[in-house]
Assembly symmetry: D3
Homo-oligomer: 340 residues x 6
């Protein structure tokens, strides 16, 4: 049965140099609007749910363009959720890498954005909480500033108190936390983990952000040791995440895991060509959320999520475009010829 | 010595989303005009023959644009062959797949096209037959409706009665035959096979369309058993076809065969990167026709055809662009550096 | 106070040759989705109302792209209104004229579209009628076929019976009615006029479609004589329309009228440069509907509508993009410098 | 009754900066292939004749692209007419002007082109002459070098001796004749005029190239005095030409004349917006040739030609795109609304 | 004799929606880098001088792209002038208006830009002053913040003390000065006027920014009264400016004045079509500076400047592209045909 | 410590068909300006040096565009180095290959270019030599004509006599030397080798151009035998070069060597995906020059050069875009994820 899930997060304008040119070489940019919350709400809408976004956009042409784009993605963007106010929209420039040359992302001053400067009292959290089954947050938002963190925690509490589920994606970006890095982040992460029912992370988050020790050596071994410890310590019912390998020939490998009721379930290890890497983690997360809300078997959930993640690497833009049907077809089929 | 070959078939407008975007993401389309007959006539023109197309285009801007495009491809598009009448042009939308995401083709209602609604008496088959050495048909055209099938058979008979060669590509598209599928198709295929001198097919056509049984298990074994049986039953002098494998890294493998005078000749198995898959089968067929008309040795014919097929995967659009010289250079060379 | 207005009509794909090229010259097309209903619903949404569209789109990539486009335009496209079914989307090609060379529109076979083949019982008219304040129809839809006409009349009756307003734009396209033309159309127009509260037309519709005689000679004189007669005969409370002049220098003149409670009110005569002429009539109609629903003074209504019509000529695409604020600013200002 | 007309002339590649950018600002170019002969042959094909081009193109990708482009334009480009040989294609860069800023054309070294280096004996003039009703030359070609001039005169003589018509467009480009200018040109012009049946020129050609004196003062007066004198001196049966005025608002005025059997006939003076000015003179010439070959009344001929010239200003590229029907519709109509 | 002129000012990234689309309609942007200082330095380089820019750009891809763009424009961008530091580049979005719909500019938070956050001591003003003949400032820069104003005044003093000329363009942008507007601005303007040798302004600046009273009524009369008063009060040797009228048909009129040694000299009143309005004032200013530095007669100076201003409306982008030769040709010629 | 290096060579306009289309399929071209000298000067500028180009460009729009492009690349393009004169710019068309289909380059007649027709006395070699630390030449320039060869040798002698280093890249292009090929080239190559301090070549140049015999069989063995012999015979202090392998999957392998003071040093063998192959050899050469001028250890030099070469395959255009920092990061890292 379809659910209503709200994601709380910033909408950013993505300004991408076409093809593989650098900013010094080109003269045009492709633009779209994205963000972790956008990606998750849109993916869940494509899986048959109502995916809403709780955010704040500036008044004026940029805010209008962003709102229109959200609606096009199928996101519930009614005025209760998508507020208008403040002056600026965060934006980032993307230069696609090729082979040995990595992609580069250059942010403009997002801290002054409408979202990141929303004053206390901007959102009516009780009303939002009353209309949703679950709410999604991520570590990028958590890195912004105290005002945003306060919104996050208030919304999480409001949803939790009405029986909704709280979802948290750890998503640690070192450049956003400044010099103190993990130390600055840890207390805020802990607060969110204590509120959360479903958490996205892997062993690195446990080690570096939460500072948990391990004597295990391999990536898999550390995961097996640390994830159950996190689940126990913060009383989290579901933890999921991925291990990714990047190969030299423009392909990646991805293997997802789901830890639930004391057991790990792993997806198949998928290897695939990559067209647009950004946002693929959000597709995996959306797949897990879908499986959990629809009460799939763990194996189906984690494979659905991994394939959703894989497909998100095959479309342009940050935002996953695959429907539930597309994911299921890809789970069932090997690589196919033209569909006519 | 150059020959004149007419292909009978529909011209469709191909509307392709640029790059790897979906129709919901993009706002522009690239268009061109193609069809099996277009591809074969154009390829044969590039191999030095006169490649004509027998078809019917609507009056008006779309028909004008299609006719100009045919001329640009080097197709003989004089008024005896390319008639103008009726109202519509069939068209299809193409969204390119990437890696694990397959390409998607969406047709519009082609059954109302000028070609598919051409009344009896539209074409002057005797005049056409008098001016060609061979005529090419395909299974896609055969799937359209009784009117078109009647045109096909009349033209085939007219050419045969004047001593020209009849070429038939089995080319079965399940979605065009409706629920009854192979059963509906079989009698029409049999009529065409009985008229044909050169046929393109492989063991699947024998098994599924013609309903021939086999106890062999592998693809190669079934081919070895069934193709001679087809040749015998329908008195076909030459049968050719390919086996294709699709790999995960955006490459395909292709191996062609030619069955003639009781013997199979196989091409080398070629593996290559794919840029545009559509229409590559027509390039292989054109290579076989060229070899047969020019009386190449079977080994040269089948290798020429396989390399022509391979090269057709490396250019945009449905229509092969390689000249005879390009094919021969590619047969002789390994992958090379820039040609200056 | 914002209202909810549903427009009933077909969504078509517009495939426009960029710039001023012909189809035979170019190789790309810009696409968007439009239709009278789309234009009116979108314009009313920009004026602060809920603009819904009652239509039927095919399943598959074209229907998905159309639905996403409608949402982007701000149209209420929930599943009660925008149904999915059938196979095809109507589409048209547009070649922009320049100066002495007129624009050309080439339609494909729209009669097979999902909208035009929707069977009886497709729409839940009672449910739709219960959720709207007004419903909009146009003469283009009326020209399609008996099935569509039956839907129109059923929906008009359902809305009327629940106290909603019925709006009808006469919009006569000769090419759609075949040889019998006005004679074939007249009875259907009369049925719609009898149901309608607000009607868009001018003296030509009265003379040619309704066959009303006049001895007046000038355009204005005929308007003054015939519009009151139409209002009386069909008991229509509001009739509005425009007179347009096309000048040689890429500019048009437009003057709107509003006939209501026995009186004519005329807008100023506006002269302006034209960027995209298609859909501007729908902007005028939307302005009248907005004024009527918001109970503006007649003079404000007709001037708002004329300026909305003028602005619609200044943006690309069929669909008006001006907000209520944009129209009011343009009513107040003379032509201005850059807005920074 | 349709005729076969060959034009003798160079094919050049036109490399146009898109929109109104300068070469220093942009990074892309639109390319096409044109030339006076191309334009005339293509226009006559659109008027229902067989328009052939006698020229020489290089072997290789540029020659292939040019040949395909000629075919697309509807030009008869069979191997008897369009020869392949030599190494280079002439090309020119075009930066569109805007308002007070004029367009700029920059040529590359065309003297080394395949056409301009074709050795004696390249063309089989007798065979060409045997298959055409008329042949067209222009003053640009005459300016190239002695080899090309020799080809011109041989072809003109061959056609004349078989009873075909010789057409010559005076078309003087000062930059091509170097310092001696008109003096260098005069003897060559006189040779062509003596061979010609139909000539395009106006009073300036008579005064500057042929060095004829006049005491008349106005443009019209000089025309009236000099054109009959030219016709008499060189025994030319038909002389036609235009007077053009360039206005500040991106519009031009054009008035054509036709002098024949001792009488002048003038077209209406047309004023129109200009989209692409290059090649419009060739459209006028083609209109005159069409009228003469079809034996129109002089008034119809000169008006047909003037409207054909006007329409050529409304499409991109050097080459006229209007069919005979398009010209006739534009002769009959005032500026119209969208054609649906 | 060529001079070296430095302009002090911010470089902004201009992100323009192509054609006439709105941000909500399009998906690509054209980008370039501009600013009053950029425009003036580039124009002076095209007039044969060394045009340098004193500014600060961020480290990273955006700063690299901006620096490359400045070099391409011909601006002296050596490390003494164009410093690298700070994090952000100011940027603005431009939606082109059409006819009755005005252009819209949307700024992002430029106050955090590298230029506007440059700390004291960033620039080595003595070294800069030692290498230039003149320095240019504008009122937009003056509106930024105290830090920037301090840089301006220090640089002006440094240049003045070494005998260089100080140029100031009043350029008042209300939106940048906040609520207090002219009152906040006046003291800063007065400081700059006292330092300046050449000033760009008109009567509105005198009235509104400087608060000078006048009883004159017409624009010309006020100019005649107030400009001499300003020159006297602030001891300015040269004041220049323009009066602009905006017409409905996409054309503007411009008339420049130059007040010097107690006398006004006016340019012709020019009327011209407008392609890109932004930056044209800087072209006028550059023309005046060029005339003054080269000691033209006042009449030549003001006409050169007005024509330079006119030509700047005919090219895309903020930055004038006309060379000295282009301006002189346009002063001499009427509107011409293609230049070949 | 940064040095000043001048490269002597022609600037060509590169006209590239976008994507993987052929010239017969497309209608737009991307253009840029390049050449071995351009590539080397630009790469060295990105490594922190002053990279100047000694060349001659035509007056007019093409020369202006080329000069602006050079400045954008960061090349020192002052009037002492980049002269203006002559009429033409050499240009070449590039059709990108895909997989089994090789790229094609079609040159226009570059022999008439401004560079290749520069008369004796064009350049002030003494002044140039006085301002540089090193000068770079290549075998492509050497193939042009006697005039250019004379310039090369004069400049090399001038630099050498002032103590600067002479660098020569053997770069043999068979198509430029005509039928006599290596025999025609040998004496000119020998002259340059005798002047050179740093030479780029491999064993093929020794065998084919210099005609040196070897009984060794493998590529490596021949290199080991012949390079020391060349160094000895021509008294060259440093010789460097690469061995390249081209793989079927759009990847190449590259291994560089540096022979100096009697010892070979080899880089790691790098395998990488290729985006744009042209110009990558110049990136390798620039890396060697940088290492030599900065007196890196041989191992660091050759690995820096090989990685610089690898990165040049990952950007569009002939000209390397990697900074010294980019190369060092790529030397240190394995293939990475997005850099944010």
């Amino acid at each position: 049965m379809p659910k209503t899930i709200a994601a709380f997060g910033e909408v950013m304008m993505r300004l991408q140099v076409p093809g593989y040119d650098l900013l010094t070489q080109a003269s045009t940019l492709n633009y779209s609007f994205s963000g972790t919350g956008v990606n998750v709400a849109s993916a869940l809408a494509r899986f048959g749910h109502t995916g809403a976004l709780v955010t704040r956009l500036p008044v004026g042409p940029l805010g209008d363009a962003a709102a229109a784009y959200l609606r096009k993605l199928g996101i519930e963007a009614e005025a209760d959720f998508v507020l208008r106010g403040g002056n600026y929209l965060g934006l980032y420039f993307l230069e696609n890498g090729f082979g040995a040359r990595p992609s580069r992302v250059t942010y403009t001053n997002r801290l002054e954005s409408s979202f990141n400067t929303a004053p206390e009292g901007t959102y009516d959290f009780d009303r939002i909480a009353a209309s949703v089954d679950a709410v999604h947050f991520c570590g990028i938002t958590l890195a912004m500033n105290d005002g945003v963190r306060s919104h996050m925690k208030n919304l999480a509490n409001a949803v939790k108190s009405l029986g909704g589920k709280v979802i948290f994606d750890c998503n640690f970006r070192p450049s956003l936390w400044g010099e103190k890095g993990h130390n600055a982040a840890k207390p805020h992460y802990e607060e969110m983990l204590e509120l959360a029912d479903i958490v996205f992370m892997n062993e690195k988050d446990a080690m570096f952000t939460l500072g948990m020790g391990t004597s295990a050596e391999g990536r898999e071994e550390r995961l097996a040791e640390l994830i159950p410890a996190v689940a126990k310590q913060y009383e989290i019912s579901t933890i999921a995440g991925t291990h990714r390998d990047i190969h030299g020939d423009n392909s990646h490998s991805l293997r997802g895991f789901l830890f639930k009721e004391g057991h790990f379930t792993h997806s198949e290890r998928l290897r695939f060509s990559v067209y647009d890497r950004i946002g693929a983690g959000d597709a995996f997360a959306s797949g897990i959320i879908h499986g959990e809300l629809e009460q799939f078997e763990p194996e189906r959930t984690v494979n659905f999520a991994a394939v959703a993640g894989m497909l998100a690497h095959t479309v342009a833009g940050d935002t996953p475009m695959a429907s539930e049907g597309d994911v299921i077809r890809a789970m069932e089929n090997s690589i196919g010829d033209v569909e006519r």
